[in-house]
C-alpha cells in the first residue's frame, strides 16, 4: 500500500507542478522569456487566499477566486510595467528584470506578512477517504488537485485550439511579425498569456499550500524552479508536454524521497532533467528545430 500512497502523492504533487509548468510554458512559448518571477506569483496567490480565508473569514471558494483575480491582475501589471518596455531588448536583460521582479515580490511579501511561516489550512474541508478497509487513505485535496489539473489541461487545450484568442496566441508564438501583419494585437495577446499564467499560478499556490501547509515569502521559489524543470522536460512551449513533465517530476520526487532519501530527492529530480535533455534535447514532447545557415 505504501507504493500506491506514494504514487497518489506523486501524482498530486505532479499535478501542482503541471499547473505551474503550464504557466511557464505558455509565457515562454509566446514571449521567449524565462519568467523567474512566476514562482513568486504562486506565493502571492497563497497569501491572498490565506488572508481572505483566515483574516477576512470568507468561504474557501471565494478566497480561491479572489486569489485568482488578484494574481491575474498582478501578472498583467508586472507584464505592463517590467516586461513590455523590454520587448525588443536582449533576452538576458529580460531575464535579469524577471529576477528583479522575483526579488521584489519576495521582499514585499516579507515586509507585508513577515518572515515567520503561516500555517495554511486546506481549502478542501472534507474527511479523508479510506479505501481497502483503512489501509489506503486518500486526502481529498489530492483528488481536487488532480481534477483541477485535468480540467485546466483540457480547458487550455480547447482554448488554444478553438477560440480566436487561442489561435492568436499560437500565431504570436510562431511568428510575432507575421501575426501582427494579420491584424493580431500582439501586445494584448501577450498580456492575456501573462494573465492566464498568473491565474494558474494562483490556483497552484492554493493547492500547494493546502497540501504542504507552510506559507513563507520563499514558498514559491523552489516549486517554481522545479515546475520550470518540468516544463523543459516535457518540451518547453508545449502544453501537453508541461503536464506530462510536471506529473513525471512529481512522481519521481515523491519516490526519490520515499526510497532514496529526502536530502537527495532534489538532486535526483535535476539529474532526470539532464538525462532527458541529453537524450531528447528538445524535451519529451518538444518540437525539434533544425538550424539552417
Amino acid at each position: 500500500m505504501g507504493f500506491i500512497t506514494n504514487l497518489i502523492n506523486g501524482i498530486s504533487l505532479g499535478s501542482v507542478y503541471a499547473i505551474i509548468a503550464l504557466g511557464y510554458t505558455m509565457v515562454y512559448g509566446i514571449a521567449k522569456m524565462l519568467n523567474f518571477a512566476h514562482g513568486d506569483v504562486i506565493m502571492v496567490g497563497g497569501y491572498i487566499c490565506f488572508i481572505a480565508m483566515f483574516n477576512l473569514g470568507l468561504p474557501p471558494i471565494v478566497a480561491v477566486l479572489l486569489s485568482i483575480v488578484g494574481c491575474t491582475c498582478l501578472g498583467i501589471v508586472v507584464e505592463r510595467l517590467a516586461y513590455k518596455p523590454l520587448r525588443e531588448a536582449p533576452s538576458l536583460a529580460v531575464l535579469i528584470t524577471a529576477i528583479g521582479v522575483s526579488y521584489f515580490l519576495q521582499n514585499s511579501a516579507l515586509l507585508i506578512w513577515g518572515a515567520d511561516p503561516k500555517a495554511f489550512r486546506s481549502v478542501v474541508d472534507l474527511p479523508s477517504i479510506k479505501l481497502f478497509g483503512g489501509q489506503l487513505t486518500v486526502s481529498p485535496i489530492s483528488i481536487v488537485t488532480v481534477l483541477a489539473c485535468v480540467v485546466i489541461m483540457v480547458g487550455l487545450t480547447l482554448f488554444t485550439s478553438r477560440t480566436k484568442m487561442g489561435k492568436a496566441m499560437r500565431a504570436c508564438s510562431e511568428d510575432k511579425g507575421a501575426a501582427q501583419l494579420m491584424g493580431i494585437n500582439v501586445n494584448t495577446t501577450i498580456s492575456m498569456v501573462f494573465a492566464i499564467g498568473s491565474g494558474l499560478a494562483a490556483i497552484a499556490g492554493v493547492l500547494l499550500c493546502s497540501t504542504y501547509p507552510t506559507l513563507m515569502p520563499t514558498t514559491g521559489s523552489l516549486p517554481g524552479i522545479k515546475a520550470f524543470t518540468a516544463a523543459v522536460i516535457g518540451g518547453i512551449g508545449s502544453i501537453p508536454g508541461a503536464a506530462l513533465g510536471g506529473i513525471l517530476l512529481g512522481i519521481i520526487e515523491i519516490f526519490a524521497k520515499a526510497y532514496i532519501g529526502t536530502q537527495l530527492a532534489d538532486a535526483i529530480v535535476f539529474a532526470v532533467l539532464i538525462v532527458v535533455l541529453l537524450i531528447r534535447p528538445a524535451g519529451l514532447l518538444g518540437k525539434e528545430i533544425h538550424e539552417k545557415v
Binding site: 515562454y28 518596455p85 538576458l92 529576477i99 521582499n107
Partner: protein, 363 residues
Amino acid sequence: MDRLKNLSRASKDNLITYAMVIVAFVVMQALASMHAISSSMIGLLVPITAYICLAISLNLVVGISGELSLGHAGFMSVGAFTGLVAAHILAPMVANDGLRLMLSMVVAGGFAALAGVLVGIPVMRLQGDYLAIVTLAFGEIIKNLLNNLYVGFDGALHFSMKDTTSLGMNGGKVLINGPQGAVGIDKLSTFTAGFLLVLFTLFVVTNLVDSRSGRAIMAVRDNRIAAESVGIDTTKYRLMAFVVAAALAGMAGALYAMNFSSIVPKKFDFNTSILILVFVVLGGMGNIRGGIISAALLTILPEKLRFIGDFRMLIYAVVLICVMLFSNNAAVRMAIDGLRERFTRKDDDAALADDVKGGGAHA
C-alpha cells in the same frame, strides 16, 4: 612612451582595467590603515574581491563565449570546500599562511576545473535556454550533494554520504559536516590575497580573450555555424571557456570561504549564481571592467542600505529593474540622445549669440 602609444586598443583597455584595480586596492588599503572606513566595510573587502573574480570568470562564459550559465555558484562551492580541506591538510606542512592559502586555491581551482569538465561535457551538447536550465540543474545537484557530504581528517581522509559517525574516524577533525557545512575554518584570506587573485583572474581572462583560442571562442559566439565551417572545433572552445571559468570560480570560492569562520553549502545556491550573473549583466556583457565595477558597487549597496532595514532588498530589486528598464528601453535611449543633442545645440546657440554680441560691440 612610444611603446605605450603603439599598443592596440584592447591592450590599452586592459591596462586601464589593471590600473583601476591597483588604484582601488591602494586607496582601500590606505583608508583601512587610517581607519577611515567602517569595520563592516573592512569585512566586505575580501568578499568584494571574491565576487569580482567570480564576475570576471562568469563574464568569460556569458559575455565572451555567449552561453548563459545559471550554476556558477556550484563551481564556487566545489572550490570552497576542496580548498578548506586542502588548507587543513596542508596546515602541518606549510607554515606560511599566504603560501598555504595559495596552495589551497590551486587545489580548489583544480577540483573546480574537474567539476567544470564533468558538467561541461554534457552541457555543451545543448544550446541557449536549454543550456541555461541544465547549468541551473547542475548547480542545484552540486549543492545537494555537498549537503550530504561528510569529510573528516585524522591523518587520512574519510568520506561519507550518510553522517559523521559512519566516517569511522580515530580522533581528528570533521571538516565538512553535511548541511552544517564547515566550522572552525582557519581564516587565511586577506585583502591582499584577494587583490592578487583579482589580478591573476584578470591576467588569465584578458590573455585568453586576446589569444587565438579567445578569438575562436568569440567566433563561435557570434556565429556557430560560420565558425564551424572554417574549421573551428566549436565544442572544444566552448568547453575551454567553461572550464577556465569554473577553475577561476573555484579559486574565488576558496578565497571566499576562508574569509569566514564557518560556511554552509546552502550559501552557494541558485541565488548566488544569479547574484554573479547580475554583476555581469549590469556591468555589460563581455565588458570586464564594467563587471568589476558592478560587482564592487552591488556588494557595497545592500550594506550601505542597511539603515533602511527591511526595505533594503526591496530597494535593491527596484534598482535592478529600473537599471534594466532604463538601459534597454529604446524610448529612454532616444530621450537621452535627444537631450544630449539639445544641450550641445544650446551650447552652439550660446556660442553663436556670443559671436553676434561680440560682432555688435566691434561695430
